[in-house]
Symmetry: C2
Subunit: 421 residues, 2 copies
């Protein structure tokens, strides 16, 4: 009887998870999302969920603004200013000032723009990044360096521990992702930026897995440039326009190479020569996709209703719960924690490695628990604090246990799919 | 009596315009657009009108695909292939083959990609364009050349007549707009391309004002590269994603510099090095804005229901009618034709110059006739054959006559606005 009580004290129950939800200060936000029933969605770090306010807003943009007011909407409905308006809202989420953030293009294109701008400021010929960085960032660096053809070298480090050593005085720019897409490992933005500055290097931070999920203070960390993604934790919709940040102190010193008319000082003067707009606007290029941009704004507005510290606190709590439940329910099933154990070093996701990871995730998704798989063996679970409940974490771990105990992953369909991946 | 009859024979009446509409083989298409009442919209060359099918499709993408199926929609609902699928549809409109057109980014970014790719193929150090080209094209060339810093020179010609002479054997690439945004002047694509090829130069054509409006035969003209716009005659919605074309024979010989993960041969292998996808896919870069892309597809699908020759024929007929009515109704009011007189040298717009152009257009828009103004003195009227009626042309000219005869343009509000432009 004493033993059982002790077990109960240490064991997390479904009821305990329900209790956590009942006390959750962000609990009311879930009702503002349109989530599928019978689905436990832990992939908001890949594609955020649909806010209920998005559909009416998109309808309004299509029907009223485009359909009724047509071309006049560029002024009448603020299409012209939308990139800067939504940028200023995102600035509030990532600790930047007004006029420092812009919504534009894709993360990849914004990386090109910011790194190209950064390279103008520094004589160094080395660009540092992590080999485990999100591949598109590496691909864009490769493309940029090849295109420039001025002897720039890409120096890739194999581990975050090697970063400081790699950022030496030969380095022009370090291009780093704050939270790893694969492991959730979070770098120390302030310390890394300070180290780079001390060596005369600039840093471009990729905030794809940070914005709206973890504490980001670009001003406090004296960050030079950053880029990020609208369709993950900001819930901006599939392929939502991305954002970029340029510190005020640098904006008028640099010119990015994609000098389109939206970055011109007087775009409607139709002058044949380019004159860069002052401030962040010079990082705009072509005409932005207004419908997708309107959807992004809804996601950002919704996030701004929540206190940012509460978002981070709940993210940590969800991650810790997931890990503890995995230890409690699945400790003998071959999973290895692939994320940092310390919450302070982790973004809003938990990853476990398993040799059968791909087939396991397929089987899990069929049970209605949606995470995702990243090669070679990572099962990735993201926690979007605005709509993920503690009971979802419970369900996810129970699902994983069932998949393993019943060997649901070991079915021809999953095997077959795994073989072609 | 004889005089009157002769006058009537030469005079175009409102009834004659109605008669033209009644016989219009494209007449039924107008009902497939959601146009504002009491508006005569002649600005589809700036922002195309809203197809009725767009709203339900966008609702479906938001509610069902994003909201219900979430991340699985990348495969399940063809998001992953959308850029190439819609590209293949646009190919049918511009005389290109399957796998030669891609929807991606903005026109400006696509110009950067295609010109950068073209420069790799040719040793020449000169890039030719027209000083009257749409400014963003010139700005992008300026940015690209500065960024490359390898001694490239931009040679701008002042008149289309000087083009052939300017495209000499020093030229690497000519970047030309098929139909001028300002005057509607249309270049001879086949002859110019052949001339450039004979001098060892490549041509990048900007089809922003051509696609969906005039006859374009990229294959027949042996075109190398092209870019174009989704939000004008293709009715893809505000800031719709743009498109680009690369001739099959060139695709695997070049690599554009914006090497994002959507252009990788195996994007989900997450390899640290870039390996270009075969074919047109290597011209993709980052994640595309799916909601805006879905809206574009509706506009393209609608256009594909109409026979392309009928579109061009009606475009010419609308333009000729406008000009004739201007001569009939407004010949003494100070307007000067600013477009080529010959229909074969004109895109789907007619422009008139007037020193008070800005204020006149403001007053005209207040009457419900929407054209637009381009500095310094151009009143621009675009004819989108799928929804513009012959009676709209009548109304537009009557509106212009009223604005002039009643001096509606000479009111403080229009004066004031003109002063700040």
């Amino acid at each position: 009887m004493g033993d059982m009580q002790e077990k109960n004290l240490n064991t997390i129950s479904f009821e305990a998870c329900q209790e956590l939800d009942a006390r959750d200060s962000l609990g009311q936000f879930r009702s503002q999302f349109d989530l599928p029933e019978h689905t436990c969605y832990l992939d908001g770090n890949s594609l955020g969920a649909l806010p209920k306010a998005t559909l009416p807003r998109v309808q309004q943009v299509v029907q009223q603004e485009w359909g009724r007011d047509l071309i006049s909407s560029w002024n009448k409905h603020g299409w012209w200013d939308a990139q800067q308006r939504v940028g200023d809202k995102i600035a509030l989420i990532i600790g930047a000032g007004p006029g420092e953030v812009l919504v534009a293009d894709s993360t990849s294109v914004n990386l090109f723009k910011t790194v190209a701008a950064a390279l103008q400021l520094n004589p160094g010929k080395v660009v540092v990044s992590e080999r485990a960085n999100f591949p598109t960032d590496l691909y864009m660096l490769e493309g940029l360096i090849k295109h420039l053809g001025r002897g720039y070298k890409l120096r890739l480090v194999d581990s975050p521990e090697d970063l400081f050593e790699a950022i030496d005085s030969d380095v022009s720019v370090a291009v780093l992702t704050h939270v790893s897409y694969r492991t959730g490992c979070m770098l120390d933005m302030a310390a890394t930026t300070a180290h780079a500055h001390a060596r005369g290097a600039l840093v471009v931070w990729d905030l794809a897995h940070s914005a709206g999920a973890v504490h980001v203070d670009l001003t406090g960390a004296d960050v030079d440039f950053a880029v990020g993604c609208g369709y993950k934790f900001l819930n901006g919709g599939p392929g939502a326009p991305a954002f970029l940040y340029v510190a005020k102190r640098l904006q008028d010193k640099v010119q990015q190479p994609l000098t389109g008319w939206f970055g011109h000082a007087k775009p409607f003067a139709f002058e044949p020569s380019f004159e860069a707009a002052p401030g962040i606007q010079r990082f705009q290029c072509g005409t932005p996709p207004i419908i997708s941009l309107a959807a992004l704004e809804v996601g950002v507005d919704l996030m701004l209703q929540a206190p940012l510290p509460a978002i981070r606190d709940k993210s940590v709590a969800l991650g810790c719960l997931f890990w503890r439940l995995m230890e409690q329910e699945c400790s003998q099933l071959g999973f290895r924690l692939a994320s940092p154990a310390a919450p302070a070093q982790r973004g809003s996701q938990i990853c476990f490695a398993h040799p059968e990871g791909y087939a396991i995730m397929q089987a899990l998704i069929e049970l209605g628990v949606v995470g995702d798989f990243r090669a070679p063996d990572i099962l990735r679970f993201g926690f979007a604090p605005l709509y993920v409940r503690y009971v979802d974490v419970w369900e996810a771990v129970q699902g994983l246990k069932l998949v393993m105990q019943e060997r649901l992953w070991d079915q021809p369909v999953h095997r077959k799919r795994a073989a072609v991946t």
